[in-house]
């Protein structure tokens, strides 16, 4: 199972991960090896098997739509790398 360098770069872009050349080389080799190992799963016929996303018998848990206090704004923003007043400050998205 060989993953190309372009595939590594594509996936890194999807994940918004900045990787240097050494990391791309190493991940190309390691992901190829790990995904090769995963191919063992192909030996199992799962055509009639439903998938399991989670194991507990709960679905769409609902609660009352009651108004409750939010986390204190100032405390929350204290962890922000950049803030302006009561806002998160972000770099320009469109230029």
């Amino acid at each position: 199972m060989a993953i190309s360098r372009e595939q590594v770069e594509h996936v890194a872009h999807l994940a918004r991960l900045g990787l240097d050349d050494d990391e791309i080389d190493r991940l190309q080799q390691q992901l190829s090896q790990i995904l090769g190992h995963m191919q063992a799963l192909d030996a199992v016929d799962t055509s009639a098997i439903p998938p399991t996303a989670q194991v507990i018998p709960l679905h769409s848990v609902m609660r009352d739509d009651a108004v409750r206090p939010s986390l204190p704004t100032d405390e929350v923003l204290r962890n922000a790398p950049r803030r302006e007043g009561n806002f998160f400050k972000v770099p320009p998205v469109l230029e």
Partner: protein, 490 residues
């Protein structure tokens, strides 16, 4: 006997009898941490002495006023992914090196309400991804057994080492694929991952949300039962938390296993298992037989596929969960001038290599054109693994197996080989995939290093798991003595 030799149950007896104060007990631990942690065991990322002494004095005042609570005045350590309001919570990552939570995890609240005293936050593999605690962004933790040259296991290695080195009477860890049980095994302590949904995950920094679960690491099974009882229970803030009554686990520790049907899954005696581990596990099976348990072999035929399925499902969930680290809301930010560059640089520089590897693996498995072949396939294998257990539990009340195929390995031995590191969790991963309760109890030594016996139960049947582990522990001569660290020098 030193105060730090006491178990939780033993400490509570002394506290209730008035022989010791929480302040004395807490100071004894803080002194020991001062002497043995930094430069030696390195179990703690953050120690909270002022808070601990405040909480201890408050516990003593409550007791003087005639109050009691399940853990009133007992110190503890929390894995550094349990949110603690006002106390830095790093998750072992540069990404959260300076992150100070605005609220407590439900688990933290429950332990505070029970009267526990926080000594500090323990080291871990970054974002709980790893089996040796060497993936911590800060420093490795050392196994207190032997000459401090070995890993404590992971990812809850700091919590396991803290209990083994008596730097805390108990600690909390989290377990996604074995991260409580494997370090418990390698450090010679008891570690328990309850049923998925038994303990609230609210405030557990997420890795793989369908697998993550909090649980205790303790010196013996009676302590484990007590802590489990305190932290279990429904939480409206976690929609995967189960609204089921929590039994009084201490009452189930009768030592009586007569007629108990215990299955031994043959696939768990894997190739690559060390002979010393194999012989201790088989000796443990004899102890269980001697207690009147009815042992029988069972097959869990899809066990071999568990590792591969896990290393698709867990990374896929991680790639989604860790998308939140964007350099905007909290955590590390590269401070780049353009948004896309800021994402790349923040995530590229903020995450360590194992976390990046798993994000890449998970993103690949979820990406267009590969989803069916990898992620969906793994979820179908997960169904088969769960069905294996369902069938086994038609015939058996509990299963026993090795926790880890090896004893503690040397620091650095597996850091360059991700697949070899992943194999360390081969016996614990299927239990997470099926959402079952699994406990590791020490079962002797191999080459002077602890071996762990894993007890696996039906969903929500923590009581039987604890009962089996406790009966084994008592019949095999009591808990493993913890290492002395006498020769440890910085």
């Amino acid at each position: 006997m030193e105060l730090t030799d006491l178990t939780v149950v033993g400490a509570l007896r002394e506290l209730r009898g008035g022989a010791i104060s929480s302040e004395d007990l807490t100071r004894a631990y803080l002194d020991r941490i001062d002497r043995l942690d930094k430069g030696l065991v390195q179990a703690y990322v953050t120690v909270t002495p002022e808070l601990a002494l405040d909480q201890a004095r408050a516990a003593d005042a409550r007791r003087a006023a005639g109050e009691d609570a399940p853990l009133l005045g007992v110190p503890m350590a929390l894995k550094d992914l349990a949110l603690t309001r006002g106390i830095r919570t790093t998750c072992g990552s540069k990404m959260l090196e300076n992150f100070v939570p605005v609220e407590d995890a439900t688990l933290t609240t429950k332990l505070y309400d029970a009267g526990a005293v926080l000594l500090g936050k323990t080291n871990m593999d970054e974002f709980a991804m790893g089996s040796s605690t060497e993936n911590s962004a800060f420093f490795p933790t050392r196994n207190p057994w032997g000459d401090l040259s070995r890993v404590p296991g992971g990812s809850s290695g700091g919590s396991a080492a803290a209990v083994a080195a008596r730097l805390a009477p108990f600690a909390i860890g989290s377990d996604t694929g074995g991260s409580i049980r494997q370090p418990a095994s390698l450090c010679g302590v008891v570690g328990f991952k309850p049923t998925y949904g038994r303990v609230s995950r609210y405030g557990l920094i997420a890795f793989a949300s369908s697998l993550d679960q909090f649980g205790p690491l303790t010196a013996d099974v009676a302590d484990c039962a007590l802590i489990t009882e305190v932290i279990a229970g429904h939480d409206p803030k976690d929609s995967t938390s189960l609204d089921v009554a929590v039994p009084r686990y201490g009452d189930t520790l009768t030592g009586d296993l007569r007629g108990m049907r215990i299955g031994v899954p043959k696939e768990y005696f894997v190739a690559g298992m060390e002979p010393g581990v194999d012989s201790q596990i088989r000796a443990a099976l004899d102890v269980l037989r001697g207690l009147g348990a009815d042992l029988g072999q069972v097959s869990l035929p899809h066990t071999d596929y568990g590792l591969a399925a896990y290393y698709l499902i867990a990374p896929a969930e991680c790639s989604a969960n860790l998308a939140r680290y964007d350099g905007v809301k909290y955590g590390f930010s590269a401070g780049a001038e353009r948004m896309l560059d800021n994402y790349y640089q923040t995530r590229g520089n903020g995450f360590g290599s194992e976390v990046k590897r798993r994000i890449m693996l998970g993103t690949y498995a979820l990406s267009s054109g590969y989803y069916d072949a990898y992620y969906l396939k793994a979820q179908k294998i997960r169904t088969l693994i769960k069905q294996d257990f369902d069938r086994a539990f038609e015939r058996f009340d509990a299963l026993v197996a090795p926790t880890s195929p090896t004893v503690a390995f040397k620091l650095g031995d597996k850091t360059d080989d991700p697949l070899a590191m992943y194999l360390s969790d081969v016996c614990t991963i299927p239990i997470n995939l099926a959402g079952l309760p699994g406990l590791s109890v020490p079962c002797g030594l191999s080459d002077g290093l602890p071996v762990g016996l894993q007890v696996i139960g039906k969903p929500l049947d923590e009581a039987t798991v604890l009962k089996v582990a406790h009966a084994y522990e008592q019949a095999s001569g009591g808990p493993l003595p913890r290492p002395t660290l006498e020769n440890a020098t910085a």
